[in-house]
Amino acid sequence: MPTLRSATASASTAGTASPTAIATPRSAKRRLTSPRRAAGSPDASQFTSPHKSPNVGIVGTPKLLSASPRSSRKRLYGDFVAAEKPKWNPRGKSPESHFSRAQSSDWDLTKEFICSADPAQMQVVKEALHVATVPSCGLVCRDDEQSRVLEFCKGCVEQERSGSLYVCGCPGTGKTLSINKVKESVARWADETGMETPDALSINCTSLAKTHEIFSKILAKFQTRKKATCKLSPLQQLQTMFSHKESAPRRMLLVVVDEMDYLITRDRAVLHDLFMLTTYQFSRCILIGIANAIDLADRFLPKLESLNCKPLVVTFRAYSKDQISDIIKHRLKVLEYDVFEPLALEFCARKVAAASGDMRKALGVCRSAVEVFEARLQESSDQEFGLVTFDHMDIALSKAFKSPVVDSILCLPQHQQMVLCALANTFHHCKKKATTLGELNKSYIEICRSTQVPAVGMLEFSNMCMVLSDQGFMKLGQSKEDKLRRVMLQIDSSDITFAFKGNRFFQKCLEQQKF
């Protein structure tokens, strides 16, 4: 049982040498807690991931046990602000107990305990914010989509017919996670209603070496013992299997195909054949495809429409700001204290929602805000803040979203900056979109002459341009001769002007108009 292990692990991190007096009641307590909770929990999947198991233990604590050990912890945390000072949830409010006073003789021991407990606590927060952590109690904000997919699957299983579904949405909107949840709940539902549980097969198309390997994977799921010795290809075997009643398999198979657009080949045969598998009379496949493009099915499978087996489309929209903050709060609910200021969370959610609505990004920002907070704590241990505040979040957000262009322009070597100036000058007045390297060299030499800086040679110049294009400032076209390579500015020329606003030398460079 993972819970037990982690509980002892955290106890061992806490108890260095002697405070076993403290560590033992806690670990014992948890040992009591977790099995009970596991029994009571309907969601068996909770315990698949050891990530959140310590959290589960902590959540279960207040309701089950007498207040004494926990309140001792509270007292400890309340007194020492060295670490992250947890604010307790109101429901966990309990009277000050004598236990802590009894413990006060071991004052220095407890102090030690706190200090060593701090990194562990940070770790718990980071774990809760990690991308790979599956939230323990269901997903929030995706109920609608989940129920649609679930209904579809239920319908298919009940009527024993095949069907196809296409899930699309931007990256980081919880598609795969939701479908995995649905897969579990279909299995549970089938168990409860006494149906035959459908098999499930998840394939990520990026891990296929060849696109048509997908059929052999599906086939392997159907015929477990038979070895494929026949001359037919796996696809043909599947087709013959599904077109005859006697050979058709009994159980349903739920196939989840992630990153489906990797299956697109030039003739689209694989994708087409895959969807066509669900149209056979005795097919038992429930196909769920996941990809980013909204119109993948329309674009690549126009034939399916005429066969009237167009897949049902479920769209995952990008998260709105409310949803993002809900999800983060939900993830952090497993901790018994607040980590973020509400304002900070709100800020993060707004910013991410405005940019992309990508949950991974939001989690990354929160994590980096926690790291900023941690760094601040180490710098000055006497500070009074116990929460990740707006400022920390601001730093993290600007790290993630701020365009690095201006800064990187400013730390370029001088001659490269002058090349950028020349480029900006070229495009400033005319409507041209591109120039050649030779032209650019001329205007660069002009600038050099006017500012009395010795110019570099052509070879070095084209080298510098290569470096600049590597960094993404400009784009170099291909040409046999260096001089004739097309040059295009990749950044906004106003960025360049902005970067050199305070510099007289470069102001002069930028004023160069004739060349």
Binding site: R5, T8, A9, A17, S49, P50, H51, P119, Q123, K126, E127, H130, V131, A132, T133, V134, C170, P171, G172, N204, T206, S207, A209, E259, Y262, N292, S356, D358, R360, K361, G364, V365, S368, E371, K399, A400, P404, S408, C411, L412, P413, Q414, H415, Q416, K442, I445, V456, G457, M458, L459, E460, N463, M464, V467, D470, Q471, G472
Partner: protein
């Protein structure tokens, strides 16, 4: 599990006897193909049985072994000559059978002689057997060698292993676990064992771990450290094992030994393979001279047959079947080598063969002097000890590398390097600097990132993308951080991890990265498709690869952008693994482009996370610091010269490689200049690199070659070029017709009384210039109608041809 076939043995509790009675170590080769037969030879030996075949017990009581009386005492005057030592006695269970010939008085004499000043100071005395520090060592013996002084190797040297449960080394019978090689008292195991079990036995802890359960191993009681036996230290490469090839005494009285190293499988290029036994060593072809002081005590390296038959050897028994070639990294079966004729006889044995030395004075019985070969310079030989073994004089060694170091030829070493030469050497790009200045912040960040990922018991997968222009120390910083972490790991402050470094440029195709990763994790070579399958299983929580499956893996991918395929699936997979639960994978990607994440598909950049680290170009101060830190202690550069070079480079590219190259080139110029001017006792001040040298180097590096070409043109070529500039300037066009140009040239020649060139000569010269791409010309069929164009700006021509000594009149047309 192929572990099931490990040789099993029981340990005796009494470790005071040198040959520890231990049950049979089976030589079941752990090949999966060969059926692993259980070893029925496991016999619980009664602990205190002294080894029957070893009358001398040098190892455990070695500090006081002078008191030891050898039972079979032969007359002391017997010379060793009649019984020459078998030279190639492999893995001899030492003490060799010749031990009885050693007599006690003689040995004492030897000891005395060690302290005495040698009679003949010029001679090197070779011995067959030496009693040193209480132990008796003979050629052909296998010994432990101290690796570093200061390591705990000589702090304590437990002969007896402690039980892993009760942490006492009692007299009770111990049994050895086949997996972790830990010893257990029979009564300490739960449930207690009556006798040593038949067949393989794994301790309950290992069994639990194998079953996937987490179980806490018993911790040692308060205040007691777990002492490691020499065997454990050797297997964790804190000690070395070596075979003594010859022994001698230097004229200054220090005893030396020529040894042949053994290495553990981890130190071979292939690493530990699944078929390696726990106690397996490889013999190498690397010989070294070490001081006897560093030899710890005996160990017993055995051939497979001996290992199988050895029933009651002690803890210090090892198995050696192959010889490892350290230069070519290949393995040879020892049996095959021995069948070969003795062509590759070790040089260390030669003194033995020298029969004339045998008949030396008979009162020095087993000790024979030898005249030094005149070819070998004695002073050089004295200092030719293995640089890495612990030595008597300094007591310290440099570096942790063990073998494979390249020997520097003598004549190079004799030469005293000048400052300039030293500077040239340290400024080479390949030289590893001692410190990395100016990247402290970035390195701090990297190490915080890696530590954050691996320090805790739960490794959270993450990605870090490092970008920056070339020559800004990206890869070097990461590797420096990893070296630092490695040393932290060695000192035990970190959880073990595995580090995989891949350069995208070195992959034949992007997909091959799977193959490389898999090979590093498991040691097997498979095709990339199969590797991809296994890796996906591994990271998504299925069957794990390799022995240390739960260790965090740090994957460093240099030149990440080269992994871009058309559908970017390779990058997708690599960046998707860290987002899986329990993947334990940390990816660090390095590339030049700043906007790689934006170039990728959104789903990939979403998985990449937001951790970025930018290595900006160096500014001139940083470059200056880098160069000065490399040149620390070498007074070869003027300060201004360094500043000039670094300013010049910082203005253009900020590439540290470029700056170092310029400085090195300048040092070469200065060196050349100094050597040209003969011996420089007069002008000492000019022995450093000055501004002029830097200037020359910069000219060479930065100046375009076309100027040189123009300067070295033939006469008419120059005239044509200048005429072209003239014509272009006059007409204001970009190109000029050949006949016009020819007319100008002819008229100029006429005016200045030059020889008039023919029309076709001019055409030919134009074609030559066109071939050199100084000018661009149309195809030659148009003859005089072809249009010519200058390939370089006319300023360059003016600059190059301003002063031409052979045609002074040319400058007036410019």
């Amino acid at each position: 599990m192929d572990l099931s076939a490990t040789p099993s043995r029981s340990k005796s509790g009494l470790r005071s006897s040198p040959r520890k009675p231990v049950a049979a170590p089976a030589v079941a080769q752990m090949d999966l193909s060969t059926p692993s037969k259980p070893t029925p030879r496991r016999k619980p030996k009664a602990p205190p049985v002294a080894a029957p075949m070893s009358p001398v017990t040098p190892s455990s009581v070695r500090r006081s072994s002078r008191l030891l009386e050898t039972p079979t005492k032969v007359t002391s005057e017997t010379p060793v000559k009649p019984t020459p030592t078998p030279k190639r006695k492999r893995a001899a269970p030492s003490p060799s059978p010749k031990t009885p010939t050693q007599s006690e008085p003689k040995r004492q004499r030897q000891r005395q002689r060690q302290r005495q000043q040698p009679k003949k100071p010029k001679k090197r005395a070779y011995y067959r057997k030496v009693v040193y520090d209480g132990g008796e060592f003979a050629a052909g013996d296998d010994v432990y060698v101290k690796r570093r002084d200061g390591a705990e190797s000589d702090a304590e040297d437990p002969e007896a292993e402690e039980c892993r449960v009760c942490f006492r080394a009692g007299a009770a019978v111990m049994v050895e676990c086949d997996v972790c090689l830990g010893g257990f008292h029979l009564r300490c195991v739960r449930p207690p064992l009556r006798r040593v079990p038949e067949g393989d036995w794994a301790c309950p802890y290992c069994e639990a771990e194998r079953a996937g359960k987490a179980i806490e191993r018993p911790k040692p009681p308060e205040g007691k450290r777990i002492v490691r036996t020499a065997k454990e230290k050797l297997l964790s490469s804190d000690l070395w094992a070596a075979r003594i090839e010859s022994l001698w005494r230097e004229p200054d009285g220090i005893f030396w030994a020529k040894v042949r190293w053994y290495i553990i499988p981890e130190e071979t290029a292939a690493g530990r393979q699944p078929h390696n036994l726990r106690r397996e060593l490889y013999r190498t072809n690397d010989l070294a001279d070490i001081e006897m002081e560093t030899i710890l005590r005996h160990c017993y390296v055995m051939s497979p047959k001996e290992f199988k038959d050895a029933s009651d050897q002690g803890d210090d028994v090892f198995y050696c079947e192959y010889e490892y070639d350290i230069h070519w990294h290949n393995f040879k079966r020892l049996a095959d080598i021995d069948d070969e004729p003795e062509t590759k006889e070790d040089p260390g044995d030669e003194p033995y063969n020298a029969g004339n030395d045998y008949v030396s004075d008979s009162d020095e019985d087993s000790e024979y002097d030898e005249e030094e070969e005149p070819t070998k310079c004695s002073s050089a030989r004295t200092h030719q000890s293995h640089a890495l073994a612990a030595n008597l004089r300094k007591g310290r060694t440099y570096g942790l590398q063990k073998i494979g170091i390249r020997k520097i030829p003598e004549h190079v070493r004799c030469h005293q390097k000048t400052n300039l030469e030293k500077a040239k050497a340290t400024l080479l790009l390949a030289t590893l600097p001692k410190s990395l200045p100016c990247r402290d912040k970035e390195m701090e960040e990297i190490s915080a990132f890696v530590k954050d990922a691996i320090c805790n018991d739960q490794c959270l997968g993450r990605c870090l993308y490092i970008h920056g222009v070339p020559g800004t120390g990206k890869t070097m910083s990461v590797l420096a951080v990893m070296r630092r972490l490695r040393s932290e790991l060695d000192s035990g402050n970190l959880r073990p991890y595995s580090f995989i470094e891949i350069n995208g440029l070195k992959l034949a195709s992007p997909e091959n990265i799977y193959k490389v990763i898999y090979e590093q994790l498991s040691g097997h070579r498979v095709g990339w498709k199969k590797a991809l399958h296994y890796l996906t299983e591994h990271f998504s929580g299925g069957t794990k690869i390799g022995k240390q499956a739960n260790q965090p893996i740090i994957l460093l991918i240099d030149e990440l952008d080269l992994l871009l395929t058309r559908n970017q699936s390779v990058l997708y997979n690599i960046l998707d693994w860290p987002t899986r639960p329990n993947s334990n994978l940390v990816v660090i990607g390095i590339a030049n482009t700043m906007d790689l994440p934006e170039k990728l598909l959104p789903r990939i950049s979403s998985r990449m996370g937001i951790q970025r680290l930018c290595f900006g170009p160096y500014n001139y101060r940083q470059l200056q610091e880098i160069i000065t830190s490399r040149l620390k202690g070498i007074d070869a550069f003027e300060d201004q010269a360094i500043e000039f070079a670094s300013r010049k480079v910082a203005a253009m590219s900020g590439d540290a490689r470029r700056a170092l190259e310029i400085c090195r080139r300048a040092a070469e110029f200065a060196d050349y200049r100094v050597k040209q001017s003969g011996h420089t006792s007069v002008n000492r001040g000019k022995n450093v690199v000055c501004m002029g040298d830097i200037e020359a180097a910069i000219q060479e590096v930065f100046q375009a070659p076309h100027i040189q070409v123009m300067k070295n043109c033939p006469k008419f070529g120059k005239i044509i070029l200048v005429a072209m500039v003239h014509e272009l300037y006059r007409s204001g066009l970009g190109e000029v017709m050949f006949d016009k140009l020819a007319a100008t040239v002819l008229s100029w020649c006429h005016v200045n009384r030059e020889l008039l060139p023919g029309y076709d000569t001019l055409l030919k010269i134009c074609c030559k210039l066109g071939e050199g791409k100084i000018i661009l010309c149309e195809e030659g069929t148009k003859h005089k109608l072809q249009k010519l164009q200058l390939n370089y700006p006319s300023d360059d021509v003016t600059f190059a041809l301003k002063e031409s000594p052979d045609i002074p009149w040319l400058s007036k047309y410019l």
